[in-house]
Amino acid sequence: MSAHPVTPAAGPAGPPALRVRNLSVGFGRSGADPVVSGISFEVAAGECLAIVGESGSGKSVTARTLLGLAGADARVQADEMSIAGASVLALSEASWRRRRGRDVGLVLQDALSSLDPLRPVGREIADSLRLHTTLAPAERSSRVLELLDSVGLPDGELRSRQRSGELSGGQRQRALIASAIALDPPLLIADEPTTALDVTVQAQILELLERIKRRGTALILISHDLAVVSRIADRVAVMSNGRIVETGPTHEVLGRPRHAETRAMVAAVPAGKPRGTLLAAPRAAGPAAPATAAAAAAAAAASAATSAATATPRPARAAAPDIGPAIVLEATGLTKGFRMPGGTRLLAVDDVSFRLERGTTLGIVGESGSGKTTTARLVLALSAPDHGEVRVLGRPWSSVSEQDRRPLRTSVGAIYQDALGSFDPRLSVRDILRHAVALDGPRRPDTGRPALFGAHNGEAQARVAELLDRVRLSPALLDRRPLELSGGQRQRVGIARALASRPQILVCDEPVSALDVGVQAQVLDLLDELQRELALSLLFISHDLGVVQHVSDRVAVMNEGRIVEQADAPSFFASPTHPYTRRLLSAVPRLP
């Protein structure tokens, strides 16, 4: 079970670019459980091996160990670890230093922090040349320009003088890749290289990595997202709890996943799964249930019907209770501009109109800078529109004073991408929810103060317990602080807090973007379930069209502040009309 040797499908002559046999890595005392235990794999030149697993599965530690950077307190043991036939086990720090960058390169996620923000990217790239070659500074500069050009960054003269903060996400990721391939290492390790990028940019970066692979570089691609790696990986190794639990050619692993962990990862990919399908299947699931005809039809609208085979469709939602107006949220001609340095004005939101029907989900999708977060702030009345109006439950919302908005505030809840940042880190889960229950709950008619206040108020305690139960969290977590929770647990607490005021509308701004695909699946399932139980209306904002496709009844695509296309989900995904939408759709990571 512990060691599934992974061998290239067609082994070329000579030693593989990398061979690892029975590698274990542990930290701290020798009795402690190893973080990586007994894994074996090989990568040949011109081949891409994807190592996939949830956070904490040991994949990043594996990557660092391959560079001799597991840390001073790491215990690394293996029967073999060799790069291009030469053993790299028990190398001295000095000989590791000569190999890093020359024999093996590393690309990390988010180049904003993976390139020194104080130094021009040209100097970062030239550093590899300075450390390993005898090139003169002028020769290094001209080589940097060639490198920038080869990773698809024209205008090298300008780019090399800019710092990572002055480049776009895609540009700086390209620069980071250029610094890793400056010496053309035979082995390149990319650890979550496209996480935090927009889907279209992600597709471009994957394309670049594939080009590098085709040049003959052995590529190890590390990710939590099966759909992302399936684009370019020749073989996949699935890691769980420090072991490789399943390996094989990509199409085999994805097409016929054998291990429960792999099946769960395949099921968790939201793109192409019909609305209401459970993404987070129970881990011990038996043989996959066949998709119903209705689900299959819906899935056919999207391109990836095959993956629905492992998902469990659920009954249609109960009809929404007949209370209040059918349109719970309405935005008309919303416009909001900001003054930029230099005096120009940027229209972040430009004539945006939409309606949210009771009990449904409106997905707003767009890439970074498209104005979707500004739209969320306008809807939440955190900022005022320059023109246009937002109405909530048929009543004026953006046009009235905050004092007049107060009574309606409880109807609108919000959850955010960065759940951790939205909590006071000193408060326990119990306090976070108790404050929410008290402040958003009923008020005493005489004093106007919260009725459910105080640590010993039984009703408040009951409400907290009920909220926790709603988001499927154990009461044992009540005394934890946000930092002691996992990402998924934090987001659940965020949802519980949003539900404290019994809202009818939930504004979700990138609620799953910071989560692993597996955790994302659980949170999406939870939101779907809550919507069903509480007849919630969701405004779901995301950069991820795959997620939006899965959750939405109606979809609006934003680009440069405008809504370029808006339609009901089935027809939207079946026949997108706007070219931008089509480009966005083709970039969504899906399972083959």
């Binding site: 190999r99 990390l108 104080l118 400056a182």
Partner: protein, 317 residues
Amino acid sequence: MAEPVRRTPALRRLAARLGGAVFVLWAVATLTFFAVRLIPGDPAEAILGGPGSQASAEALASVRAEYGLDQPILVQYLAQLGRLAGGDLGRSYALKLDVGPLVLSQLGGTLVLAGLALALAWLIALALATWSTRGGRIAARVGSGLEIVAASLPHFWLATALIVLFSIWLGVLPPISTPGPAGLVLPVLTLALPLAGFLGQIIREPLLTALESPFVLSALARGESARGVRWNHAIRHAAIPAISLSGWAFGSLISGAVVVETVFARPGLGRTLLNAVTVRDVPVVIGVVMVVAVAYILMTLLTDAATRIADPRTRAR
């Protein structure tokens, strides 16, 4: 990041800076003018040689008329502001000398003292922070402990302790500040050690953060050495907060100079100020304070410029 976008705010920023500097100087002059009035005693008596001089009533009256001390306080204040605006610092009551040349003659010694102390404090702080963040957990404890102890040393105590150690026990350095480099060692050390502790504490935290950050991992993966990572990447991140605090630190060094120059009997602004306060020599007090304020403003401009060089991200704003 187009050039024209940057240029207009630069001019506006300069104008705002100048306006701010004028405001600070006015506020300093005003506060000092009224504060010295709180020193007990009659200024006319001070002019005639202090309370022991037994000056006659006629002499006092004529001095008051001559110096305008019989005028209402507001008139005196405005007259003082007018003189200052014209660059005239007035004439010392006690020394019967023009304040301007007097203060300037003392300025050099204090600037040398404060400048050397600032440089030495930076050296010690950088050495301590880099050594203690490299050497494992025990070194880290020792380093941060030393910083706390150093930062909490009072100048007068440290000066005395250094004199006892180096002049009386070891006999290697003079106990008073003789001309020449040897006489500078103990005063500079006295000022530098507490500041080094303070700067070290400010440098340590961002240094540790920088050493843990992804760009350091990227650099290591390129083949950069531990030392290279430290000096090419981390130290710059760590220095930025300390650089911006150096302007303030310089001000505190000049106030520290009052104590140090007195203990080591070293001529300079600090001692001049102390003497002037003691004999209620109002023009000298105001003169010293104004010159120190100007030096402080210039130092702040300098550290701001240094911050902008060290952290290019602040330039765009």
